[in-house]
Symmetry: C2
Subunit: 420 residues, 2 copies
């Protein structure tokens, strides 16, 4: 595409002469709603072909995010011994909203891999269980207790079970989750995906006791970790998206892949085009129109984007957003029955991790709202930018001592260069 | 490009069969530094072709921003009667850094167009002058006073002169600025570009007293406003980028265009491919490698991006960033002599507008630092995300009463639907 644009531009200059740039009238004052029939710059071409509308306020996949504190969860004074994180998508069953999440209740806050033992967690998601809560309004929640406990050793997840997501398929419920067989941080954050099933969202849950989604082979991108399993019914199959952390040279790279199965218990076969998302962290998907949309957070070249793939595989950037929720678990009414007509999302549960500070060693759940829905038109959610007016918001993201030294040196070099 | 990707994917599925997705080995664990020779998803293809590196920490056009309070400026207790905003690019001359900016010192804070008169400003940039300051370290500034006063009526800018930027060309200095002939807000924010010149950055400045860059013809996108004039010497010509506000249905659209001249006093001819940037607000450019880079803020589908155009015209997204400076005026050492080897930027002066609150009615200048330079490698500036750990940061961006009503109604509808 790049070279095509360059050619276009050269062509324009060729026809117009190097400084007689009057080949066409100026662009119209009223922004055309459809792509106008004229030579366009690469940016204007993109504005009409890349996005769902030439203005973000008309872009169904553009939104602001708003946040609300949840009622109903106790955190033991935020001392790090109780943590809730990585909420599942929210579903509505039996007249109530349901959400599952990683729950840790340990004698101490996380101590790192070296100091961890059978009761002391290495990381915030170590020695955890999957708990769940229900709500009638989405703001006040009743914690219902454990859904998936840690199974006895050596079963999958005996060290920790975390980061669950829910599937409903042919009247049954399936929870997919990370099953740890050693404390996170011993090598990395290694786990495959486990699954349990039930006839009701209230359980009881039967562990399948086999790996649902295998790690990749040695040398493959997902050989160690399969995180954030994220199932949907799409094109009559189960599409399960997941994240892996890989490389580590020196930092981990985080991308997302897709595994597909006809049967909730597998076998899941991985998409040969994996990874299908090149960025993100706790990336979350939802059915949208005939395809799938994704919220891509934190990491990578394409962090802070909403993306869309008409085929659920080849994602393109649909919008650039700010203040994204952490590990979002949206309420996805049509997660299991979108039938090529996904309607989008308007709210969900996210986590703040770490909450308060790194030292607190814990995470909290909160509610986010947005307008990524074809059925809601909320102008407040389509604003272009959040205004941060307090100078301290900026000054607290200040220079380090090392950076100040670099700057001082550069100033001196410039003065010396100017004197010579 | 989209259809090409879809074809690729269909091809992969065609060759592999619908559920025997094992046409190629899994993607390698070590992220290849160059594009690997294999079928890639659209996202992975983009990760190798769209960005300067497959990881943001190696992307020369990716950065964090850090902020520092400036010393040397008085704001009369922040009561709204003194405002400084829209800094020019910073240049280094005579052993000092120079910056020009919009300075307002009025008996009251801005009162809106209806209440404005000869001494009461309508907007923060009404009844302003261009002032300048110098510094030896970039942190402490000495205000030098006025550079461009408001000329007597009916000269260009008699109502207000604002939003200046500097050009050095063949040993002379040129300040380009917005010249208002009525209070902003009477119709919109209408102005052409004026220019003054001097033999020294300390002046005295001689007004050219003619329009340097004309508004577009009636019905063209830039018929009313030419904002943020932004000159460079590029390909032996003067490339002057500018923003216009247009449409207004119901909101203004903001995009940037380019005008080119061989002579600093014009005539400037507009690029036939205008607009060349489809988003932004106070968009700023700087020479980078053989082309031009742009910082695209606030507004539009591509807000919060750094962009790059090999030809200075056809901009592509180079990175997605956060906490961008407002109206940045970077220190651009090679703004006038990059000769196809632009080295990038590491700091500048930006404004916070509004500062403190809308009610304060004023703006302040601050310093920003970044690493968008080929010569600096500052790992602290290449972090993926700023962590906001305080829950209040999120909760203060909460739902409005109107939104809460919408949500309550949706909850009720869902319950009723479930009961039927």
């Amino acid at each position: 595409m790049k070279s095509f644009k360059l050619f276009n531009c050269m062509l324009a200059f060729f026809f117009t002469g190097s400084l007689t740039l009057n080949a066409q009238e100026g662009f119209p004052f009223k922004l055309p709603k459809e792509k106008p029939d004229r030579e366009l710059s690469a940016a204007m071409e993109r504005n009409y072909t890349q996005y769902m509308a030439p203005r973000p306020e008309h872009n169904e996949l553009y939104t602001q995010f708003k946040y609300t504190e949840l009622k109903g969860f106790d955190y033991n004074g935020y001392d790090g011994t109780i943590s809730r994180r990585d909420p599942s998508k929210v579903i509505f069953e039996n007249g109530k909203y349901y959400v599952w999440y990683t729950y840790r209740n340990t004698p101490t806050k996380p101590q790192g891999a070296k100091k961890s033992n059978d009761s002391i967690p290495s990381a915030d998601w170590d020695l955890s269980e999957i708990w769940y809560a229900t709500s009638t309004d989405g703001f006040t929640w009743e914690e219902q207790g454990v859904a998936i406990p840690r199974p006895p050793k050596p079963n999958i997840g005996w060290r920790s079970v975390s980061t669950a997501d829910i599937l409903k398929f042919k009247g049954k419920y399936y929870l997919y989750y990370q099953g740890f067989m050693e404390a996170s941080g011993k090598r990395g954050d290694d786990c495959p995906v486990a699954v349990s099933y039930a006839d009701s969202p209230d359980g009881p849950w039967t562990p399948y006791n086999k790996i649902a989604v295998n790690n990749g082979k040695e040398g493959e991108w997902d050989q160690y970790s399969i995180h954030d399993p994220h199932p949907f019914v799409y094109k009559d199959k189960i599409y399960l998206y997941y994240k892996s952390d890989f490389d580590g040279d020196p930092k981990l790279v985080r991308m997302s892949g897709l595994a597909i199965s006809k049967n909730p218990l597998g076998p899941f076969e991985k998409c040969p085009l994996n990874p299908v998302i090149n960025s993100g962290h706790e990336t979350v998907m939802f059915p949208f129109k005939e395809g799938m949309a994704a919220m891509v957070l934190k990491d990578g070249n394409e962090h802070f984007t909403i993306q869309y793939a008409e085929d659920g595989i080849n994602f393109e950037i649909a919008s650039i957003v700010e203040m994204m929720p952490g590990a979002p678990g949206p309420f996805v009414p049509d997660a299991f029955n979108s039938n090529g007509n996904g309607r989008g999302i308007t709210w969900g549960i996210s986590h703040l991790s770490p909450a308060f500070s790194w030292k607190h060693g814990m995470s909290i759940l909160m509610r986010f709202d947005c307008d990524l829905s074809l059925d809601v038109h909320d102008a407040e959610m389509k604003r272009h930018e959040v205004y941060h007016m307090n100078p301290e918001y900026f000054y607290k993201h200040g220079l380090s001592g090392k950076q100040l030294q670099r700057i001082k040196k550069a100033n001196e070099q410039l003065k010396n260069k100017n004197h010579n």
